[in-house]
Symmetry: C2
Subunit: 217 residues, 2 copies
DNA sequence: ACCAATACTGGACAGTCGTCAAGTAAATCT
DNA sequence: AGATTTACTTGACGACTGTCCAGTATTGGT
């Protein structure tokens, strides 16, 4: 029923057509996934239904089974799409920072801004990560995103160490766990109404990141 | 319909009777909550139904509305009951440790053991904490438990500092966020099948706790 | 203009959900 | 022992769920 993906290497006219179809197909999938992500971030996994997702899109509920085989397929697709939008966020801070303090404050401010402005999006991430503890269907993709986030944090930590002329004294996993913990708690506070928590988060990052490097002798 | 709680100060015979009834009432509530917690820790919030909870108890599904007004009431009760069993866990380690290294290894080992043996229980905690980001009904009780856990961590950190003759250099919130982050990531690994993660957790705690104190000059 | 393939709608399905109430069993009191 | 309250069961209710499908609108090739 669904259009087949492009098959051969030589691009015949048939292939060109089917590729255009596949592009449109992918485009709509992405569009529906966006509506799904919005719904999920508002209601949470437990209370999100396919009908509600469709209601937040321009289409009826039946279309979801035209573009996705089932609910797991849809949400898996959402998780992957979320990743693409999220992971590269801090690489620019790494790129532009010329000194260690500059990178430090930039990173801290970036995390704080994310907690302030993208709170719903990130509670969705934590919700889905938690779902993967119960439904193994999501585990693989969640692990992939988690790894990407860990790498992102590590790029920051190791670049910070480099700019400061020192060496990291923790593993990537440890660094990620620390900042993830800080961010998560700030997020909880923010969503509970405590806007001041983003300032606390910012300060915490500034205090703790330097301590993840080896001490001066 | 439900027996009233004890009313007055002077304990008449009527009061004694009603208190006995209240005790039995509370006992059964606790019993049902235990079945609910077991179910929740196995299936997660999103897939736990009242019928499944009743199925994991000795009673039929109708009884749940005899002892709880609705689902929120039941789960709120579960959250509170969970707290009582969980929070005091590490205080004994603080009490018996005579030296800083002893407390350090005891704490690290305790966390690792918890991640190994009570994994399902704790993924339930994270699941419910996450639910509270979407359903404000649970927010108050979750915040209370979170505060208790933070205090528990802080007792360990401050006692560790005391035994080591130094001072903590982080806030209670920061310390809690760090160890919560480490624990959560280890828990994810364990539930994904990577048993080695508990060793990593143990090492991480031993590496990081000392760095939460002010450095020697 | 016609036709076939694609895109989408909207209703129906079987199942499950939380909730409730009528009815039975058990315990308690007089 | 009989009467009354408490404890619990069972079946039902309407609402909602994911899934599927027959049918309609839309598109694009010829």
């Amino acid at each position: 029923m669904n259009p087949a993906p492009p098959t051969g290497l030589a691009e015949t006219s048939v292939d060109r057509i089917s590729r255009r179809q596949v592009d449109k197909f992918e485009e709509r999938r992405s569009q529906l996934a966006t509506a799904a992500i919005q719904t999920l971030s508002e209601l949470g996994y437990a209370r999100t239904s396919l009908r509600e997702i469709a209601h937040n899109s321009d289409f009826s509920h039946g279309v979801l089974h035209y573009y996705f085989t089932d609910k797991v397929d849809l949400i898996t697709y959402c998780v992957k799409q979320y990743k693409a939008a999220c992971v590269t966020r801090y690489d620019q801070i790494v790129a532009v920072s010329r000194t260690a303090p500059e990178l430090l404050t930039g990173f801290a401010r970036g995390l704080a801004q994310t907690a302030r402005e993208d709170a719903s999006m990130h509670r969705l991430w934590y919700d889905l990560r938690n779902q993967s503890l119960f439904e193994s269907s999501y585990r693989h993709d969640v692990a992939e995103i988690d790894g990407s986030l860990r790498n992102m944090i590590w790029r920051i930590v190791s670049r910070y160490a480099e700019l400061d002329g020192r060496e990291p004294n923790v593993t990537p996993t440890q660094a990620y766990a620390v900042f993830d913990g800080l961010f998560q708690h700030a997020l909880w506070q923010v969503l509970a109404g405590n806007q001041a928590a983003v300032g606390v988060l910012e300060d915490s990052v500034i205090v703790l990141l330097p301590r993840l490097l080896i001490e001066f002798d």
